[in-house]
Subunit: 343 residues, 2 copies
Amino acid sequence: MSAVTLKMLAKHLSLSVATVSKALADSHEIRQSTKTLVIEGARELGYVGNPYASSLRKRASKTIAVVLPEVADSFFSEAINGIESVALQEGYHVLIYLTHEHLAREQAIMEEFKSGRVDGVLVSVSEETGSGEHIRRVLDSGTPVVFFDRVCDGPGTACVITDDFESSYRAVVHLAASGCRQPTFLATPTNLSISMNRLKGFEKALADLGLPRHKDEVLIFGKNEAENMDLLRAALSQPRPPDGMLVCVEKHVTYVYQLCAELRICIPDALKVIAFTNLKTAQFMSPPLTTVSQPAFEIGKTAAAALFRALKRASKTIDEEVIVIKSALVKRESTGSSPVSPG
Amino acid sequence: MSAVTLKMLAKHLSLSVATVSKALADSHEIRQSTKTLVIEGARELGYVGNPYASSLRKRASKTIAVVLPEVADSFFSEAINGIESVALQEGYHVLIYLTHEHLAREQAIMEEFKSGRVDGVLVSVSEETGSGEHIRRVLDSGTPVVFFDRVCDGPGTACVITDDFESSYRAVVHLAASGCRQPTFLATPTNLSISMNRLKGFEKALADLGLPRHKDEVLIFGKNEAENMDLLRAALSQPRPPDGMLVCVEKHVTYVYQLCAELRICIPDALKVIAFTNLKTAQFMSPPLTTVSQPAFEIGKTAAAALFRALKRASKTIDEEVIVIKSALVKRESTGSSPVSPG
């Protein structure tokens, strides 16, 4: 198969090359309905403009960067798809940079952007990131930055997040309604915005529901896998172990299922489990996992749209705004909910 | 937390700044044991060299690119981690580009590399890629390219792959030993090297085992989700449906579990299932999934090492070689194997 050309795309749509070209360039001469038609046709055929040739004309890199902790997580991989769905329409390349949760790597990456290597940046910060000084410097250099999911204080810019506090609150209410009296919050370090908000939601729900405080109410997982397993094993092996667990990060789900198998703790009878995850296998797990499913694709797409709004301005300035897209609690057997009938 | 500096790293290791600097630059003045110590210390503290400053000195981008179809797949996300483990040691940035299985995007990305934007490229080709002409042009421009996992004919360079033929063959032998007489191969388009080799291994095993040929012996999934579901539903709803299934690509696992739930087909009693996947949740699925587990991290690491061997030569030439790293068949209940006792 050879590359799809502008000419082939035009023929496929029965439009002139000039019309298709103008539609792709978002010209005011072209009607919105035609633009939509052309963009859909381009996606269907896999048409890709030549960003490099175009950047020579416009003196821009026609590239945006996505900076995030990792891709081995269903939230981030779906968010990337959302971002790319917008960038493709705009004829931009997307470069993905991973920080592996290290602030130092995030800083080194941001340093590089000050030289104008990319036109704009989408970032979800690392677990270690406190101050956003290194991100503010990128903004100051004239390159717009949008936060998605994990934000940090400081740089005034657009943020696209989900309702972490409310989602966590709803999850605890569901655990309590399912009979839990001692839920535990399984978290990453709490300087992360999402962890902090989820923890606050968890604690507010405990207080509102009048549930008693207990030891091991919050377990914080670090980077050492063996230490995490020991911490969780100790909590689950107590005389009065937790009877519910809200897992804040997808990668910790396997620890919980693993240890429950090892310690012969039955989910959901002895321990009810909810996790923040978009894992496609959640419904096929044993037992099927109750999830807080985040609108990952939408978050990525919305963040990219905010970035492109800024890129289309001569000033490249970005609106300071917080856009919240709601997550959904999907109840399954890991919290004792009856299975949804298939089909 | 502020960035880790060379000075902080040297202090942490009780070495001089000069020694640490030379060790990181792989100087012959420094012993290998010291280099290992320094590299481990750097990883532990999250030390990142400043590739940008360094690139100004050496007139190189200090950046390598990874071009692959998607990240929403455990194989690719682990392979990226393997690649980054090497790049980090070398003080290089890693840029990730996604093709979403489109040749046109792969071509546009490769076109960009001819301008020297990156020093080297690691690529796993798209489903649509036949000829490697666009990749050969990158090699011709003087930028070394290494294939990993999915290779294509044409460009003579290094390839790091797994034993797809043998893995598939072993999987069919296991299905037959578990009682299957009509296994089906669930595949993506077969112009992909991995699909082709897995299919050949499947067919050779059928022949060697003397299993009868049957309708729906091979089902090819395309990009349309609804069409894929219909194809599989039709095959499973026949009077004599397949009794075994070898799933070639991770993302198709959920289709199989989903349809078996819908059609009330019991895994493993009525259908035995094996999938090529590194999903961490495989052992917690209902029933636990038998997998062909690929050495994803090792493949990524080995491919990156081959690339850096070329980058360290004045000529930047790359050895033409094929490195094969073996996959493992992990037997679980989806093929009727008894569960491994936990702990």
